[in-house]
């Protein structure tokens, strides 16, 4: 009796795991195939676009760059100068000092000749109090507005930016990121060329560790020297080039990276702005904007472009990376919980029927299933129930799948916007792909599990993010 029950249970669990594994593998493969087609379409379309037309046209939409800053005193001047030199005609820069405890505001005031102005602010979105708004007395910095407010977190700071801006589009960026000078031109284009209104656009974020940066500008792209950063390079390539490209094709993109995203301001405000109750405010805003459009039966598109537009410093140690991944997990779960109403709800189209379920089953549940699978495997080992031949064959299959997927990501990068031009970089990345399933992946599963656990315990903080800084050179 017990034997047959155990037999039934194990068959059931085996079946369930098998179905899940096949579904996730097929999901990845389909997304990769779609991404290839979308990438080709994008490149074909933009092959010989002359962005100078956009640069000089009076029809170009107006854009505000919103850059929240918290304790960024060391690099704030260079970063803001870099933002002020972006190639676009019709834009302004709004830096929001989110109650920094260091000298961020003082440096801004001195560096850009700022003076407090009597700004009549419309609090369309409720935020922490604004202490003052500053404009430069120097005409060279007339595009710059600095807002000083009480500390309320990144989402709150961005909401202040939404209140201050009077432009059509808002680009929400991390002030410590390096933005390519033509990034706005490329990001704005989808808003202008689609027949269906575009409400948001995201671009590829790349890892800037080991790259050479000069006064906030990317001078030379280099592959990171540390293995941990290279793991993240590979991970970002897979996520952006094979994942988000495909979701863009399906018009089911749920996440635009908080490091650099462009949004229709009116829709972002009408949807309620950023939610400061979650640490995944970037994903939450996109989901809420989508919900808003569906609820009001408005046609829309969330677009993604594969050009590398934004370079960010990736965590350089496992302890810092664990905090980042912990936060990402909590942000994902919080967003999925907040919008559970759209789960398999046909009223929300692709978002409800495909994107949300995908995120639920393959992003949120994957680490949990993997962990439970390991427990189950441990149980089988303990009871000497493992067919080792089968186990090793299965392990080889999973490993080869991971290897194939990473190789495909590397190839996609090579055939599109290859940035790592040295031949030895390919060898290094292949080595990274070979090691990743054993060295990096188990850790990401563990961090995701910790994220789940911490969320249940009520953890809300972002976690300290210590940055090592880019390789800075100064003009002679």
């Amino acid at each position: 009796m017990i034997e047959s029950l155990f037999h039934f249970l194990s068959s059931f669990i085996n079946g369930l795991l098998f179905v899940y594994a096949v579904a996730i593998a097929l999901g990845y493969l389909m997304l990769a195939a779609l991404a290839q087609s979308e990438m080709r379409r994008y490149i074909r379309k933009n092959m010989s676009v002359d962005y100078r037309v956009l640069l000089s046209s009076p029809l170009a939409p107006s854009v505000s760059l919103l850059a929240p800053a918290y304790n960024e005193g060391v690099t704030i001047i260079d970063n803001v100068k870099s933002l002020l030199s972006i190639m676009y005609n019709n834009y302004d820069v709004i830096v929001i000092n989110d109650g920094s405890k260091d000298d961020t505001l003082d440096k801004l005031i001195r560096g850009f000749d700022l003076r407090k102005v009597p700004f009549s602010l419309d609090n369309k979105i409720l935020t922490k109090p604004v202490r003052g708004i500053y404009k430069s007395t120097n005409r060279a910095f007339r595009k710059l507005t600095v807002v000083d407010k009480e500390n309320g977190g990144k989402a709150d700071a961005l909401n202040v930016g939404l209140n201050v801006s009077d432009r059509e589009l808002v680009a929400c960026i991390d002030v410590d990121c390096v933005i390519e000078s033509d990034a706005l031109l490329k990001m704005v284009k989808p808003f202008m060329e689609e027949k269906v209104p575009v409400i948001a656009t995201g671009g590829v974020v790349r890892i800037a560790n080991s790259c050479v940066i000069e006064e906030g500008r990317l001078i030379e792209v280099r592959l990171p020297q540390s293995l941990i950063a290279r793991f993240q390079v590979l991970e970002y390539m897979r996520a952006f080039l094979l994942g988000r490209m495909a979701w863009s094709r399906l018009n089911g993109l749920l996440l635009i990276s908080g490091a650099f995203g462009l949004f229709r301001k009116d829709i972002a405000v009408r949807a309620g702005g950023y939610n400061h109750k979650t640490v995944g405010e970037d994903m939450e805003l996109v989901v809420r904007m989508r919900r808003y459009m569906h609820t009001h039966r408005l046609k829309y598109k969330v677009s993604f472009i594969p050009d590398p537009l934004c370079w960010t410093e990736a965590p350089g140690s496992y302890s810092i990376l664990s905090r980042q991944r912990n936060r990402w997990t909590r942000g994902t779960i919080e967003t999925l919980q907040m919008h559970r109403k759209i789960f398999l709800n046909p009223r929300f189209g692709i978002t409800g029927m495909l994107s949300y379920p995908y995120w639920y089953f393959f992003e949120f549940m994957a680490p949990l299933v993997e962990f439970l699978g390991l427990l189950y495997f441990g149980l089988l080992v303990a009871f000497h129930l493992v067919n080792w031949n089968f186990f090793f064959a299965l392990l080889a299959l999973v490993y080869c799948f991971a290897l194939f997927f990473s190789s495909l990501a590397l190839l996609t990068e090579e055939l599109s916007y290859y940035k790592y031009t040295q031949k030895r970089d390919i060898f290094k990345m292949i080595l990274t792909a070979l090691l990743e399933p054993f060295v990096f992946h188990p850790r990401t599963v563990y961090w995701a599990l910790r994220g789940n656990y911490d969320l249940r315990k009520g953890k809300k903080s972002w976690g300290e993010m210590t940055r090592q800084g880019f390789i800075q050179t100064k003009k002679k």
């Binding site: 419309d122 060329e193 000497h384 194939f404 190839l411």
Partner: protein, 368 residues
């Protein structure tokens, strides 16, 4: 229990797994081989291209920029110069493409006699045949490339070829053909707008505007022709162009739109009247109060435009009523325009946030 094997499996299933793993490994290896191959080809091509480009560039500069005494005609481009280029290109399709790319790039930055020489080099070397072949038989990428080349290098006979692609199913090719058609037509170059049934994207509008801005010698159509176009985006575009090129003759047609237009079209019409400084029609604009009250965006545009043309007490009174408008952006706009006219202080007490509006409106650093 000992008889159970949860991860039990026959040799056959193990074999299947191993075969599947080997298959994926092979795919991964293929990816890596292509990756290396691509890198090798790219490196070699970069070096080769750089060499050919340098030779082409030198020869082209000699022909087009330095050799300014030579007068070229359609029938008589100096053959000895072309032979030099022909020698560099040889029979290589790649070199041919590089030459066309250089010609396109040069043409974008030149005008007058120099531009004409670039165009004649293109036809003199019979490179247009290469473009025509690509348009007719090439992949989508090549078709797009061909259309752009022929348009950039003003190959006028291409018009008859492009006609069949003006309604192509592939939207990018369709749009490119329309733009090329416009660039190659001497008259009625925007005729395709007459039958346009899909939205005219802002991107297309920008390209058209750019074309007419750069080519001042070309006759611009009177854009009022499309004010009543069934596709709103075309009508909006026509209004924008009227404003941009200051087509004052169309003012009455724009005014005639006011009672019938709505939403974006109405705002575009109001904005156009502002740019054309149509102060004679202030009454018609002030009659739009109900539309403005219903829509803050319209109210904001109306206030801005009235601010531009206001010159009587009636106008200022009209603007002052917007200081109590429910939408903050409209109140601020009203305060700003009244501030510019020096009419703000007497009415500031009416609104709760009046003091902040007044201060904002009068702050020099906040004037756009």
């Amino acid at each position: 229990m000992a008889g159970l094997s949860t991860l039990y499996a026959s040799t056959a299933s193990v074999d299947i797994l191993i075969e599947a793993a080997l298959f994926l490994l092979t795919l991964a290896l293929i990816c890596v081989i292509i990756l290396f191959g691509s890198r090798l080809v790219k490196s070699r091509r970069l070096a080769d291209d750089a060499e050919v480009n340098a030779k082409l560039s030198m020869a082209l500069q000699k022909i087009i920029l330095i050799d300014d005494t030579t007068h070229w005609t359609e029938s008589a481009a100096p053959q000895h110069r072309l032979v030099e280029l022909q020698d560099i290109v040889g029979k290589s399709k790649r070199a041919q493409q590089l030459l066309v790319d250089q010609l396109v790039s040069m043409r974008k930055n030149l005008s007058g006699e120099y531009a004409r020489k670039v165009e004649l080099t293109y036809t003199g070397l019979r490179l247009h045949k290469h473009s025509v072949r690509k348009l007719k038989r090439g992949s989508r990428v090549q078709q797009l490339q061909a259309v752009r080349e022929m348009a950039a290098l003003r190959y006028l006979p291409a018009r008859s070829l492009l006609q069949e692609y003006l309604n192509a199913r592939y939207s990018v090719l369709r749009d490119e053909c329309r733009l090329a058609w416009m660039q190659l037509s001497r008259e009625d170059s925007l005729a395709f707008l007459d039958t346009m049934q899909e939205p005219l994207t802002l991107w297309m509008q920008m390209q058209i505007l750019d074309h007419f801005s750069k080519n001042t010698h070309r006759q611009r159509p009177l854009f009022s022709r499309w004010y009543r176009h069934p596709e709103t985006t075309v009508a909006q575009f026509a209004l924008r162009m009227t404003a941009h090129f200051l087509q004052y003759d169309s003012v009455r047609d724009v005014v005639a739109l006011l009672p019938v237009a709505q939403g974006d079209l109405l705002r575009a019409a109001i904005h156009t009247l502002g740019v054309l400084e149509a102060s004679d029609f202030s009454q018609e604009l002030m009659a739009l109060t109900p539309a403005a009250e219903a829509d803050p965006q319209t109210a904001r545009v109306l206030v801005r435009v009235m601010g531009k043309i206001a010159h009587t007490e009636d106008h200022y009174e009209f603007l002052q009523q917007f200081l109590t408008f429910p939408d903050h952006a409209v109140r601020l706009e009203a305060a700003m325009v009244l501030g510019r006219h020096g009419k703000l202080s007497s009415v500031s007490a009416r609104q709760d946030d009046a003091s902040s509006l007044v201060a904002h409106a009068l702050e020099p650093l906040l004037q756009s």
